[in-house]
């Protein structure tokens, strides 16, 4: 089943990585270079899966996470980060507020990206039946 994926990361290399990894999979990939832009896109499009960076100028990952969750609390959000310890307290308080998210560690390779997308897609398929 085709799903719509949003990648929010201020580094172009990371956005490009996701685009390349997901090319020819049939999934639609959109990217945003900041938390603000990502929220803007998520407002317009109901994404099925979001990959989100933590350390970004402007709105950081956890703040973005909270807003995305307000928009659509059922969308799986994967925080893709090299180093999340600086955000540990914020992440913990988000978790206490029942905001669900997963953390994956950079560098994330193509196989891992595709397998996450596949799981979400199968899950969606299951519920759309």
């Amino acid at each position: 089943m085709s799903i719509r994926i949003l990648v929010i990361d201020d580094e172009e290399v990371i956005r490009k990585s996701f685009i390349l990894a997901l090319e020819d999979t049939g999934y639609q990939v959109e990217t945003a270079a900041s938390g603000e832009k990502g929220i803007e896109k998520a407002r317009k499009t109901p994404f099925d899966l979001i990959f989100l960076d933590l350390k970004m100028p402007g709105l950081n990952g956890v703040e973005t996470l909270r807003q995305l969750w307000k928009l659509r609390p059922t969308v799986p959000i994967y925080i893709v980060t090299a180093y999340y310890e600086d955000f540990l307290d914020q992440l913990q308080s988000a978790a206490e507020d029942a905001i669900s998210f997963q953390i994956i560690r950079k560098p994330v390779g193509g196989d891992e990206i595709r397998s996450i997308a596949k799981v979400v897609s199968e899950h969606k398929l299951q519920f759309s039946r």
């Binding site: 290399v13 180093y83 310890e85």
Partner: protein, 484 residues
């Protein structure tokens, strides 16, 4: 003086003479002197044991003791009280000898008047005090003191003997520079000369070789004095080896924490581009035929990028912030951890034909530990052991676990190439590795030790080149400072 009057003990067997002295002091002092008289040494010693006297007047010829022997016995009983001996006119040589053996002064019987008696007593007391002060300054000094004349030791105090390991007899007459390690001799000579000429006032540091052959760092300051009428050098000398060691350790700790901070920052910066490289290479791989000769090259890029990421992750663990934030402490048995690590390495163990044995003593309790951290430690040690066995004929690794008092002790022993003694002390330093480029990051043991220390334990290494290496870890059964 302690009291208002001077308290004297007189040991004299001639009653007429006793009376004479009493009279002299009574006339002179008008209550300034209190005198007690005994006529035997045995009684005198009893008096001395009980009362406090400012000075002892001692006739060397008593019914129960004769000559210098009498003095020795009194000296031994009251080393802090000044003694004035009394001798006959024909015995002045004896009197001089008595002074060499610790008496403060002497009086010649029949040649005493009241004023001489008073003066001798007072001087004896004053001189004794001055001498005692000087003696304790020198003998109890925590600083080594020596006097050198014509390049040879003329005097050494106990601390100097302690610091150098040589006794007084060995040192006196010894060439003073022979203690200095050869490489420092020129510098010491130069500094000492500068100091004696008044051109230098800052203490200088150099190394000495002790009697046991150890090298010690000392800090020295010297002054020019006259000794026995001729020029000599007075030196003060302090062992600074311990202090230097601590300073070095602190410098090392600072270096390591600086490395840690830098590592975390750099690691974060590097992982983004690495993720790009990884995915770009994978993308190219996907679009390259497997029989294309560029295919294995692209695989190389993918693999090497992965390795970079591993190094960076190691660095981040090393920076330790990750550990502290992430690791939960839990009760775990070492057996479980050993099982897991052996399983992880089973491929290599079999491929290299290594015989891995283990002995786990019964009843070894589970302990509170950071499980992932501990697993990494063991993984590092066993991987290192496997590396060390690469060239060995006998390929054996033995794991041993038992309880040792309040600790659990784990040893990892291999029959590998061993570690040269000069390298042994560097093995925990960050980025120190003997492995070929690309095989080790030089952080494995640094990380391991950090983890062990954070658990309140310690790690030690014994090694003999060509025979093997044994790492010993001890961990407390209960973690000090609560149950975090």
């Amino acid at each position: 003086m302690s009291a208002k009057y001077i308290k004297i003990l007189l040991l004299e067997d001639d009653p007429a003479y006793t009376r004479l002295l009493q009279k002299m002091l009574a006339v002179a002092g008008r209550g300034e002197y209190q005198i007690e008289c005994v006529d035997r040494l045995s009684t005198g010693l009893e008096y001395l044991a009980q009362g406090e006297y400012d000075v002892v007047l001692l006739d060397l010829g008593l019914p129960d003791s004769q000559g210098l022997d009498t003095l020795d016995k009194v000296c031994a009983r009251i080393p802090a009280v000044p003694i004035v001996v009394m001798t006959g006119i024909e015995d002045e040589t004896l009197a001089v000898q008595a002074i060499r053996q610790g008496a403060q002064d002497y009086l010649v019987k029949g040649d005493i008047d009241s004023r001489t008696l008073q003066r001798v007593l007072r001087y004896a007391i004053e001189r004794k005090q001055a001498e005692d002060l000087l003696r304790s300054l020198i003998l109890s000094s925590p600083v080594g003191i020596y006097i050198v004349q014509d390049g040879r030791f003329k005097f050494v105090n106990p601390q100097f003997q302690k610091d150098t390991g040589y006794n007084e007899n060995e040192l006196l007459g010894m060439d003073s520079l022979s203690l200095v390690v050869p490489g420092d001799r020129e510098m010491v000579r130069g500094n000492a000369v500068g100091m004696l000429k008044g051109e230098r006032s800052v203490p200088y540091e150099y190394r000495v070789t002790t009697r046991a052959g150890d090298i010690k760092w000392v800090l020295e300051i010297a002054a020019s004095i006259k000794y026995g009428g001729t020029r000599a050098t007075l030196g003060y000398f302090m062992d600074t080896s311990e202090r230097r060691k601590i300073q070095l350790q602190m410098a090392k700790a600072e270096k390591m924490s600086a490395v840690g901070m830098m590592a975390a920052g750099v690691a974060h910066e590097l992982l983004n581009p690495m993720m790009g490289m990884l995915n770009f290479a994978q993308y190219c791989l996907k679009h390259t035929a497997e029989d294309d000769r560029r295919y294995p090259v692209l695989q190389g890029i993918e693999r090497e990028t992965g390795r970079c990421a591993d190094i960076v992750r190691n660095l981040m663990t090393f920076s330790h912030r990750e550990n502290e934030a992430e690791e939960e402490y839990q009760l775990e048995s070492f057996t479980t951890i050993i099982d897991r690590v052996v399983k992880l390495l089973s491929y290599r163990i079999e491929k290299d034909h290594v015989l891995l044995t283990r002995h786990i003593a019964e009843g070894t309790p589970r302990i509170l530990m950071a499980v992932n951290g501990m697993q990494q430690v063991l993984l590092n040690l066993v991987s290192n052991a496997l590396d060390a066995l690469a060239e060995s004929q006998r390929k054996e690794i033995h794991l041993e676990l038992h309880r040792e008092g309040d600790f659990v002790q784990l040893t990892v022993a291999d029959s590998g190439c061993g570690i040269a003694p000069e390298i042994l002390e560097k093995i925990y330093e960050p980025f120190f590795t003997t492995k070929p480029v690309g095989r080790g990051t030089g952080l494995g043991l640094t990380i391991s030790r950090n983890i062990i220390n954070s658990l309140g334990g310690d790690i030690a290494c014994q090694s003999q080149p060509g025979v093997g290496t044994t790492f010993t870890i001890i961990l407390p059964l209960e973690r000090k400072g609560g149950t975090k």
